[in-house]
């Protein structure tokens, strides 16, 4: 190497090393964020060093994750990263797919969808409603997420993580939604669990099931139809399998309002307007006069970007924020919040948290998922409703106020007591299971609902010893082989699905 060239490389060296040193110092010494606003999640914490955590490798693994996850200016860099990814290719017709999308739709004819994974669902005769208690599948620790979710103040409720298996996400113009895989075996399981509730609660208590379709059902262009299963077929399949449980046809009323904003465009949830329409179907089933939407006070917020940006990191979602509409129930009511586990009262609050920042659109409804809620209305009809829900149910609660005297809201993932005992203790007259069709097809979530019949889920409980013994006596041993078979044919690990 001649000396002239060596000197030129000296300049190269100076430039490269300056850049590297600058970046290294910035990344090491600048303050690190603890949570990500765009993704709406806490970032990886700095791990605790113990001999054990070092030796099993978790310390170094978590340290690596912490270092990468809490990079200074993370949210801005993330946006840059989303922008860079736009250069990967072009969007024809403004369409982009995220995740692993598979062909799932089968015969389009009504009713006769072939079961997924090539196995027959167990016949009704094989399965008693008396499912045993199952450990919720998957790796997520529901209690762990509760801890994270309860930390912030009540007025800053946490988002839930995406609760269910899906078949990838599609962005079409300014609207994104998840593609529906569907799973008949799980649908049957869902129906059976609800039937089991009905059996345990007895004739005196009305049990209703509302399975909610999602945006993909109404907004997916025809040419992609085979990548999403018919939600209508799956909902009907669940309803056909209900015994003694009254189905609520939310589908039809939603289907007739698809030109209105019944679903959020940047979020995997429905909009409150959609939930309102679904409540019409419920009111009609109950035989109650419907409260018109004009009674509500409509409010709007501009610039809402929902959960799907965090899930896809697609810059187009960030760049097309939507107007978030919400509706204030005019009837008077009181909302009391309880700790989900001990049921200790945490005082009174609102069903809609208007004080939260505008980004938090859907999280405005009923505060955090990880709360147990009792709504007392001025209606004196003596009807006490208990709602079992995941986050889709949150937007529905305000619209149920005209029809009940009291409404108890149980989040299926967090509630820490025996739900049957609890409902008997509170003198519940009506039970509503409201779940979106993804949740009603996701084993882990159905397991949660099922386990609540046996509760508590490892937490403190108000249930007395007698009732516990009684419950144990009432439940025969779970038909284990049967269960294993069911589960093998169903949800593969989430990584594989997505």
């Amino acid at each position: 190497m001649n000396r002239k060239l060596e000197r030129k490389y000296f300049y190269v060296l100076i430039v490269l090393v300056t850049v590297l040193v600058f970046l290294s110092l910035s990344i090491i010494f600048l303050p690190r964020p603890e949570r990500s606003e765009t993704e709406n999640r806490p970032l990886a914490p700095f791990p605790k060093f113990t001999t054990e955590s070092y030796l099993n490798g978790s310390f170094t693994r978590d340290l690596t994750l912490w270092f990468a996850d809490t990079v200074p200016f993370r949210d801005n860099i993330l946006k840059l990263s989303s922008r860079l990814k736009e250069f990967e290719g072009i969007r024809q017709d403004n369409i982009k797919f995220h995740g692993n999308v598979q062909i799932v739709a089968t015969e389009p004819e009504q009713g006769e969808t072939a079961p997924q994974n090539g196995t027959e669902p167990p016949s009704v005769a094989d399965l008693t409603p008396e499912y045993g208690r199952n450990e919720p599948g998957g790796e997520g620790d529901p209690l762990g997420s509760v801890t994270a979710a309860t930390e912030p103040a009540e007025t800053e409720p946490e988002t839930d993580s995406l609760e269910f298996d899906n078949n990838g996400i599609v962005t079409i113009g300014d609207r994104s939604f998840m593609l529906f895989g569907g799973n008949r075996v799980q649908g049957k399981y869902y129906a059976d669990v609800l039937n089991a509730y009905k059996v345990q609660l007895g004739e005196g208590i009305n049990v209703y099931s509302m399975v909610v379709p999602t945006a993909v059902e109404f907004y997916l262009p025809d040419q992609y139809a085979e990548y999403s299963n018919s939600e209508l077929n799956q909902i009907n399949y669940i309803y056909e399998n209900l015994v003694g449980v009254t189905p609520i046809d939310a589908y039809s009323v939603l289907a007739s309002h698809t030109d209105e904003d019944i679903y959020l465009k940047t979020d995997h949830h429905w909009a409150q307007l959609g939930a309102y329409y679904a409540s019409i179907a419920f009111a009609e089933t109950l035989g109650e006069p419907v409260q018109p939407i004009s009674d509500y006070e409509k409010k709007s917020r501009e610039g809402y970007v929902g959960s799907l940006y965090g899930y896809t990191n697609d810059i187009k979602i960030l760049e097309s924020p939507e107007r978030f509409d919400y509706y204030i129930q005019p009837l008077p009511y009181k909302t009391e919040f309880f700790k989900y586990d001990t049921l200790a009262s945490e005082g009174y609050g609102s069903l809609i948290y208007e004080t939260s920042t505008s980004e938090k659109g859907y999280q405005m409804f009923i505060g955090s998922d990880a709360k147990h809620i009792k709504v007392t209305t001025e209606n004196k009809n003596g009807k006490r409703l208990c709602v079992f829900k995941e986050s889709f149910g949150n937007a529905l609660i305000p619209s149920l106020i005209p029809y009940f005297e009291e409404i108890y809201v149980i989040d299926i993932r967090f509630f820490g007591m025996n739900a049957i005992d609890y409902m008997k203790q509170e003198g519940i007259t009506d039970v509503l299971f409201v779940n979106n069709i993804f949740a009603a097809n996701t084993q882990m979530l159905i397991d949660y609902i099922n386990n609540l019949r046996y509760g508590p889920v490892g937490l403190t409980t108000a249930a007395t010893e007698e009732t516990e013994t009684e419950t144990t006596l009432e439940q025969p041993e779970p038909p284990l082989e049967l269960l294993e078979e069911t589960f093998e044919t169903t949800a593969p690990p989430i990584e594989e699905i997505y």
Partner: protein, 470 residues
């Protein structure tokens, strides 16, 4: 730790080089390198680092023993001891479960199968150790008297966990005296950054597409099947050669010259040529330490080829599909030796290119599917055999292709020897201006790649796979 992690690029590596260059004499440099290498290794394997030190210690003494008994029959004992240690560890950790399962299925017995975690890099460092011992035995290199230096040779974090397999004789001189210079450091750094870009910008992107298709139970369509395996073809090249680039680059920064490990394999025109361009250090190892000792071309050549390719397959993983993949190349190479090679040279180039690409891509499908029944499903979709009622093309494949068309184009372009051509164009004239342009371009490209890769790496922790779970 892997090289394409922010903590490695921005914390570990700068710290290492600060300490390395602050150490004025060789011994201190070696100590720094060994300590950082052990920390690096223990990052992923806090316990198996003992295995690494233990087997290195064993071969250190084996080397001394062989050198003491050089030329005598007893020297063979040292070689035998080394092979026993290295191959024994491989047999236990990497192949234990596989051997027992195979044994069980052949004999119908039900011996307990113990699935052990594979210590990272064991396949690479045990081969380096073996190459050293055999070379000492052959008198090709002198036994290393300093344990520190030997430990450094085996454990150097540049190539410890994913190669290339650096034979002792190729860096024997540099163990004693590093070739440290400003130009080596700069060029090494540029090389490292280019490797980083290959991994983060290209391999991760096309890998995501490949995964999306290959992980399905059945490909959506024939087009999807081809698209998926082609993306995997790109992914594995950019992933692996990117890693080698980073290793070679860091070695150069520290004053070591490692041999090249990849030389644009997809421009080859025969399977033989492909293997002279793909994972060169592994091919050389098998040639030097298996094929030639067996008799090479002189004695029962075809048997030797079968053995070498069986072992090459087995080396890649404890599963039948890897053996199948190795033997597949073995068969192609034997056929080429018999007659096909001459044909390939005579026909128009385009046809021999198509032949090799087809062979390589098909090979990757054997390589990818550890489950042979899934391989069957996939191949029947690719070739639309009767019974596989997949469509010719589907909408998602079209959309995914368009959604990623530019990154795919970049990947394809960089499979061709563009960079060497550019270098030649700018430097062969010895014009100072051309040279300056080249240096400037190189530097600018390296910085761009660093920035883009870092941004993408930050985005990567927003990994849907991590928190799409409940």
């Amino acid at each position: 730790m892997v090289f394409s992690e922010l903590i490695f690029i921005y914390a570990f590596l700068p710290l290492f080089f600060i300490f390395y260059f602050l150490s004025r004499n060789l011994t201190y440099k070696n100590i720094v390198l060994v300590i950082f290498s052990l920390v690096f290794y223990a990052w992923g394997e806090p316990v198996w680092v003992l295995l690494l030190v233990g087997s290195t210690l064993a071969d250190y003494f084996n080397g001394l023993f062989i050198s003491k008994h050089f030329g005598k029959k007893t020297a063979k004992l040292g070689v035998a001891a080394s092979l026993a240690v290295n191959l024994g560890l491989l047999a236990i950790f990497k192949y234990g479960a596989f051997f027992t399962q195979t044994f069980n299925s052949v004999t119908g017995l039900a011996l307990p199968v113990h699935e052990l975690d594979l210590p990272i890099g064991i396949s690479f460092y045990s081969f380096q150790s073996i190459s050293y011992i055999v070379d000492v035995y052959r008198g090709k290199v002198k036994a290393q008297r300093s344990f520190l230096k030997f430990m450094m040779y085996i454990s150097m974090f540049f190539q410890l966990v994913a190669g290339p397999i650096v034979c002792y004789d190729t860096i024997e001189r540099q163990i004693e005296r590093r070739d440290i210079s400003i130009s080596n450091f700069s060029q090494g750094l540029i090389r490292f950054l280019i490797g980083l870009g290959k991994k983060v910008i290209i391999a991760n992107s096309v890998g995501g597409i490949a995964d999306g298709i290959l992980s399905n139970a059945v490909p959506q369509s024939t087009a999807a099947a081809w698209f998926g395996i082609l993306m995997f073809t790109l992914q594995i090249y950019f992933d692996f050669s990117g890693y080698s680039d980073m290793a070679i680059g860091m070695g150069r920064m520290a004053g070591f010259t490692f041999l090249e490990n990849f030389n644009y394999p997809y421009i080859a025109r025969s399977a033989r040529e492909f293997w002279r361009r793909w994972h060169i250090s592994l091919g050389s190892f098998f040639r030097e330490y298996v094929y030639i000792p067996l008799g090479g071309n002189r004695k029962h050549q075809y048997l030797n080829l079968v053995i070498v390719w069986f072992l090459t397959g087995l080396w890649h993983g404890a599963s039948w599909n890897f053996i199948l993949w190795g033997c597949y190349f073995g068969v192609l190479i034997i056929i080429e030796n018999l007659f096909l090679g001459k044909v390939l040279e005579k026909i128009p180039k385009i046809f021999s290119h198509i032949y090799l690409l087809f062979a390589a891509v098909l090979g990757w499908s054997l390589f990818y599917f550890t489950d042979l029944s899934r391989l069957g499903v996939y191949l029947s979709a690719m070739f639309n055999f009767g019974g596989s009622n997949v469509k010719l093309i589907d909408e998602i494949t079209k959309t995914t292709f368009l959604n990623n068309i530019f990154v795919i184009a970049i990947a394809v372009i960089f499979c061709l020897p563009i960079i060497p051509k550019l270098k030649e164009f700018f430097t062969h004239k010895k014009s100072a201006i051309a040279q300056n342009i080249y240096l400037f371009g190189q530097t600018a490209a390296a910085i761009t790649v660093l920035v883009i890769s870092s941004i993408l790496l930050v985005g990567d922790t927003n990994n849907p796979f991590l928190y799409f779970r409940f």
